[in-house]
């Protein structure tokens, strides 16, 4: 994976992207504050969410089996997938068994994580994204840069141009309603023709085997109700113990993610119902690095995430670089702690450093994931795994110097020789990274310590 600083440099040079991002994140942020502040028990809800997720992870072995039994009892089939390849094989197998060349998809990060579309293409099956934003990206061979608003980095002129090249030849209008209509005409046919639908799930209820998808457009519900066969893929951490727990999460999620009191469509389905909706349901429970994260007593809290994206919208780093710099389907602060755990710290060692530790993410997280704490935890792991010898030597020397007041005072006296009033304009590498855009205040000619001694 390209390191974050390198990838960020490319994204930062795109002024249009920064303007789009700033506008979009500020709008969602303001909406979120509005609907969160009207709830007197928001903090209690967050705490309830945190506790429920903690219970899920502590007893995941039990809840998973309970969920499997409930799905089977309701007429669904459960598949266990250790990794992306196993999960993709299940979907390809279902498509093959039904002889289809095309499946329709609900917006799903989990399927992006396992690169399902590519795997299906290799198996001769075309996956059609039906979420408006995901469709735009798919038509242009682009990829998501935000958990909730995947095409946040594209504007309506670009969308018109993409549609004109693909599904709506000759379209001239860039009005949102006209663009939506063009996608509707295209997608309706796909929905009616599709014989296999593929979805993720926001929640899976262990008690009942119910799957839940929340969305804004209703296209997801088309996919989960029209095709006679449905495959739903969810990470093993997506379970909730009881149906009643939805009361907490269906308040936390829409308010945190779109800044709405309630999302327009909440679809729930349990197994199969004769003559209503899909008559064949496959549920794929995906590990793909999650049990490794679960084994880490600090890092595991990242698995509490309900993918609301509130942390992205408040992040001063994300709102400058956008999502692509994070090199994963999980961008922003949550991505910086999730990706290194799912893929291994060796693969994504620069991500835990992609934060100024400002703490805005922790403040808004609806399930109170202490992201800064996990970032620090993962930084220590990254240093162990791959810090340069030079950096280690400098940090050790600094540590040794700080460990003795005499040594520190000596270092200060050496520093004071550079002392003066005029700032430093240029320093050699690696500190040139500072002076490229900033002056550096010189050390004082007299340290505080020395002043105190002589006062």
């Amino acid at each position: 994976m390209t390191s974050f600083p390198e990838a960020a440099r490319v994204e930062l040079s795109n002024a249009q992207l920064r303007t789009n991002l700033r506008h979009a994140t500020e709008t969602i942020r303001a909406k979120r504050i509005g609907v969160v502040s009207e709830l007197p028990d928001w903090e209690e809800l967050r705490e309830a969410g945190r506790q429920i997720k903690q219970d899920v992870l502590a007893n995941l072995d039990r809840y998973l089996v309970e969920f499997e039994e409930a799905v089977q009892a309701a007429g669904g089939r459960v598949h266990w997938a250790r990794d992306a390849a196993e999960a993709n094989d299940v979907v390809a197998g279902v498509a093959r068994a039904h002889g289809v060349q095309e499946v329709v998809k609900v917006k799903s990060l989990t399927t992006d994580e396992i690169r399902l579309n590519e795997a299906l293409a290799d198996a001769g099956v075309r996956a059609i994204e039906t979420d408006f934003a995901e469709l735009i990206l798919q038509l242009d061979g682009d990829w998501s840069s935000h958990i909730l608003v995947p095409a946040i980095h594209r504007n309506r002129n670009e969308i018109r141009e993409i549609f004109a090249r693909t599904i709506a030849p000759g379209i001239e209008s860039n009005e949102p309603a006209d663009l939506a209509e063009a996608s509707r005409l295209y997608l309706r046919e796909r929905f009616l023709e599709a014989r296999v639908g593929v979805s993720g799930a926001n929640f899976g209820i262990a008690e009942t085997g119910t799957l839940v998808v929340v969305e804004s457009e209703g296209n997801g519900r088309m996919c989960t109700t029209l095709p006679p066969v449905l495959v739903s893929i969810l990470g093993i951490e997506k379970l909730l113990p009881r149906f009643a727990d939805l009361e907490v999460f269906l308040q936390l999620l829409p308010r945190s993610s779109t800044g709405e009191r309630m999302n327009p469509y909440t679809s729930l389905w349990t197994g199969v119902t004769p003559r209503d909706g899909p008559q064949e349901l496959h549920v794929v429970l995906l590990d793909n690095g999650r049990t490794r994260a679960l084994a880490d007593d600090v890092g595991r809290d990242a698995l509490h995430c309900i993918r609301c994206s509130a942390c992205l919208n408040v992040c001063p780093v994300y709102s400058r670089t956008g999502g692509h710099a994070y090199g994963s389907v999980y961008p922003g602060p949550i991505g910086a702690i999730l990706t290194p755990q799912l893929q291994g710290i060796e693969q994504a060692g620069s991500l835990p450093f992609a934060s100024s530790l400002c703490g805005a993410c922790y403040e808004v997280c609806p399930v109170k994931i202490d992201i800064p704490r996990i970032l620090l935890h993962l930084r220590a792991k990254a240093v162990e795994a791959k810090a340069s010898r030079g950096e280690k030597a400098v940090m050790r020397l600094a540590g040794w110097t700080f460990a003795g007041a005499g040594r520190f005072a000596l270092a200060e006296r050496l520093g004071a020789r550079l002392g003066g009033d005029r700032p430093i304009h240029k320093l050699p590498p690696p500190l040139s990274a500072w002076t490229r855009t900033r002056d550096l205040k010189r050390p004082a000619r007299q340290t505080f310590r020395s002043w105190w001694k002589h006062r």
């Binding site: 600083p5 703490g359 855009t437």
Partner: protein, 223 residues
């Protein structure tokens, strides 16, 4: 009250004027300030850089020097936050917090004739939680005009080693902060953390801006 000063490593070398000002303000209010000479660094830089064991060693060292003190003050919310959260000491306070919440003082008798923008640093807001203490103190400074800072609670982009490791992103954040500071009409930008002032001051200086970065303690010490 007898108050031990933890001047911080950055304060000792780069912002001794903030340390001196802290002493001045507290002594003016009739308190005794002591300076444990063995102090160096709290270890935050090592923790944030991923060098946890070094941070733990420095944390233990800090504890042994300061845990017996009744009250410790530091002119840095970030170091105070680290000492509370990571070292586990409860007797350490950021200057404005000590003055307003613990000593019940919101007017230190200062005078500072300038238009001032206050940048609430991230750690003062979300870790140390000093609340509106700095602003309350600033509002009572004679001849000082406190101006509004747009997007005030947004990070300046310092973040310790982040400023160098992710210099491009850090600089993009700084550019927005400097725009806001300059747009506020302030002559001085103040904060309770030297490290953030190093960043903001460095950015303003590079732009050739007339706005100066100055630690809150210095304003409070002015008469």
């Amino acid at each position: 009250m007898r108050i031990a000063l933890f001047v911080t490593c950055v304060g000792d070398t780069l912002f001794p004027e903030a340390g001196r000002a802290t002493v001045e303000v507290l002594e003016r209010l009739g308190h005794e300030v002591v300076f444990p000479a063995e102090q160096t660094c709290c270890g935050q830089m090592h923790l944030n850089g991923g060098y946890r064991r070094d941070a733990e060693r420095l944390g233990r060292r800090f504890r042994s020097l300061f845990e017996q003190c009744e009250t410790v003050v530091a002119p840095s919310s970030s170091c105070v936050g680290h000492v509370r959260e990571f070292v586990g000491l409860e007797n350490v306070f950021e200057l404005s917090e000590l003055l307003v919440s613990k000593l019940g003082v919101d007017d230190v008798g200062a005078s500072f004739p300038a238009r001032v923008a206050y940048h609430p640093t991230c750690h003062s807001l979300r870790v140390t939680r000093v609340g509106d203490a700095p602003k309350r103190l600033l509002r009572n400074v004679r001849n000082l005009e406190l101006v509004e800072l747009a997007h005030a609670d947004e990070c300046c982009g310092f973040g310790g080693t982040f400023a160098v490791k992710n210099a491009d992103t850090s600089s993009a954040m700084l550019a927005d902060k400097c725009d806001a500071v300059e747009g506020s009409g302030a002559e001085v930008c103040t904060a309770v953390d030297g490290s953030c002032l190093l960043q903001i001051g460095g950015g303003l200086s590079r732009r050739g801006s007339n706005v100066r970065a100055m630690h809150l303690a210095e304003i409070l010490a002015s008469q």
